[in-house]
């Protein structure tokens, strides 16, 4: 018995020694290394990570407001009639409802205006450009680009356009507030750079995470649609995944990833997978034949108000988009773009056809409609400040 007792005591002490360093209640301590620190009030839910802010253009409310004024200012164009809002209307989640927008000189853009919902969360900008990383880089295109001409600001008119901005007292105040560290942010030589950064800040601040889906207030049809969306049969979640419903999403928690692009079998004009010029997607930028027809996955938030759909606005309704996926691609029976997109050799391997009933299509559309953030579409914060 004594031997047993000795063993008992020995074990007891050993055990309590080991235990003495331990907690008695479970707890988890999370140190996010400043991932939620920002000079800007992003107004996103706590479960959504914050987006990247470029080192050379950290977000502030003042830049956001200056950018908002510039966004809605038609003086930033060759004819004084085109502003960013001309093709990005708030009520349509900053798309424009057109298949192809036109620029200041009437030149038609080959692609569809994208919604700017959550633009801050994309790891590359525009429909199919693996070279555009930041909104600042993208904003240069519509302002100063030549093919196509959008705002039409060029070497002949940029000085006058800047002078018209400089003559506005509202802007003198807004620039000084947005760039307090500079002596002459509007009259100095960084005026255009500041303007680009401000517009980019406004677009970056367009966050939208307050839909019926987010609040858990979905209809029964929408819930059925969600189950379909996540199902193995439809596999929408394969590309439209995460809190922003796009696999091109990046936020502060993500170390940099190669951007993803997908060919969804919309065209096949030569029988060998070609998409019509100039909208060959990623291929247009890289020249790599394997990239033919690859485009970036858009977010599905607010998708119900951003018709028409796809990179060239060639699909007018969500119903049509779903049926294209159900078929495994789009067949164009006749015309200059005739071809069987289902047979496109560059089509993403995940896209196989699936069966879906009409009722299920309606349910899926109901789910997509539950992703509309009405507050975002009407929030005065994103509206035209000149009115």
């Amino acid at each position: 018995m004594f031997a047993v007792f000795r063993i008992n005591v020995a074990v007891f002490f050993a055990v309590t020694l080991l235990l003495s360093g331990c907690q008695t209640e479970s707890q988890t301590f999370v140190d996010d290394a400043g991932a939620r620190e920002s000079a800007f009030d992003w107004r996103v839910p706590a479960s959504v990570p914050l987006p990247y802010e470029p080192d050379d253009n950290p977000m502030t409310e003042e830049k956001f407001q200056l950018g908002r004024h510039l966004f809605y200012d038609a003086r930033l164009s060759v004819n004084g009639e085109i502003s960013c809002a001309s093709c990005h209307e708030q009520a349509r989640a900053f798309s424009d409802g057109q298949q192809h927008p036109s620029g200041a000189t009437g030149e038609v853009h080959p692609r569809n205006s994208q919604s700017l919902t959550n633009a801050a969360y994309f790891n590359n900008l525009t429909w199919g450009n693996p070279a555009l990383a930041t909104i600042e880089q993208q904003v240069m295109l519509p302002l100063f680009g030549e093919s196509p001409i959008e705002h039409g600001i060029n070497e002949d008119n940029f000085e006058q356009i800047l002078m018209s901005i400089q003559a506005d007292e509202t802007y003198l105040r807004l620039y000084a507030e947005a760039f307090p560290e500079q002596d002459e942010p509007l009259l100095g030589e960084l005026a255009w750079d500041n303007s680009v950064k401000a517009i980019a800040s406004f677009v970056r601040g367009m966050t939208s995470f307050d839909s019926a889906f987010d609040r858990g207030e979905m209809s029964d049809a929408a819930k059925r649609g969600e189950a379909l969306f996540n199902s193995e049969r439809l596999e929408c979640f394969h590309c439209h995944d995460g809190y922003n419903f796009s696999d091109a999403t990046i936020d502060r928690g993500v170390t940099f990833l190669e951007p993803l692009f997908h060919n969804t079998g919309l065209y096949n004009i030569d029988g060998m997978g070609a998409y019509p010029d100039p909208n060959t997607g990623r291929h247009e930028v890289t020249g790599n034949p394997d990239h033919m027809g690859q485009f970036r996955t858009p977010s599905l938030r607010n998708v119900a108000v951003t018709a028409p759909y796809n990179h060239d606005g060639s699909v007018p309704t969500l119903d049509g988009v779903i049926r294209n996926y159900a078929a495994g691609g789009r067949v164009i029976a006749s015309g200059e773009h005739a071809g069987d997109g289902r047979m496109n050799p560059f089509k993403d391997g995940v896209l196989v056809s699936f069966q879906i009933t009409d009722a299920e299509v309606d349910d899926l559309v109901a789910f997509l409609e539950s992703l509309t953030d009405d507050a975002f579409l009407t929030d005065p914060r994103f509206s035209d400040p000149w009115r």
Partner: protein
Amino acid sequence: MKIILTPSKRLACAAGMSVVLILPSQASAHYIPAEGEPVQVHGTVMTTWRSASPVDEYEFWQIPGTSMGGDAWPVSQGVSLDEVSVMAAKRFDQNTFVKLGVSTHDGSDGHQSVGIEHASLGFVCCDSKGPWVVEAGRMTAAFSPELLAHRSASEFTEPSLIADVFFGRHFHDQGLRVWLHETAGWSAGAEVWQGKAFPATDDSDGGAWDAFARYAFSTGRIHADVGVWHYRAQATSRADHRYGGGHQHTPVAAPGEVATIFPDVRYTGDVDLTGVHAGSSVRIGAESTLGIKGAWAQLNMEGVLHDSGSREADIVADQYAVWLQPYLTLHNHTVSLRAERLVADNTLTGAAAATLGEGAGLLSEDGHTPERFSLSWLYQWRPQVEFRAEYISDQTLPEEQDRFAVGVVWQGSLLSGHAGH
């Protein structure tokens, strides 16, 4: 880390710990087939009906604050075939023996498959009684008695939290074991593993090893044993293979959440586990035994959490789990009460820490420490057949659940002439 023990807790803690000392538990005495015996074939079949499952369909079983995986499937509502196994062992000369074992494994969506649990060759040195034993091949771990034993051998239908949470319920891996086997009550050994068993991973940077020691004491009426073990593993991109780790189609969700795709968060880093187990029993009558047994295990994880979206976060986790089981055996009936508690202290650092921690289930719920209390009545109806009835108060998940279980277990030799395994 500071301990805040209220007086009542302190008392309970001390009482519990002191109880651990008391005496015996099952020693794995019959593990090595004896010389001269014919081939031993032992089988088990375990079937249980349960009144509820801790999770609904399309939910995944993730105890908050822990990193689970392996085969730790939640128990399901209704009738389930918990285990079917067949183990054969033969000593075919003075020194050499072979063991083969096959058993069922649970899979996703309730699928069950049969797998080779044990396929090893052993060598006893240096006479037929040893005491050194070297065994190599696919084996069950010997460092912890509850991992070594079959699920059907326990008084309870649900394995302990140590087994389920820290080891993924089963431990079958390919490796090598050197064992000083039962010399005057002492035994000790060391094992080296390829790493196929959770919580390790099998690759050039993975693998695991462990060492253990045990002392068993027995007089006429009193049996006791105590053991200690240490296990260390490296994991590389370790997934929760129950729901993740590959191309997963079926949306699942944490209990109470909307079903989405399982957040496939991986762990790369070190895993250190240390454990103590002890048990003792006293024969208090002709056919009555009073006993108590228990185990305590401590887990340390230090590494990186990461996912396919290229998010990363550093993690340092200190966790421990303890179970304590007093029991009373009267004639053919055994009544046992098991109390379990798991305490996790995790620290995650990095911009993606919150996202990854949530995805991995490593965020503890405020004010919630997983606990479970089980009461079981086991009736040994025949030498090889027993019935069990259980009541479980499951507080491992934020939502408490009470459930019942009734089951039958058959375990015995498939060949006449030899009882026991």
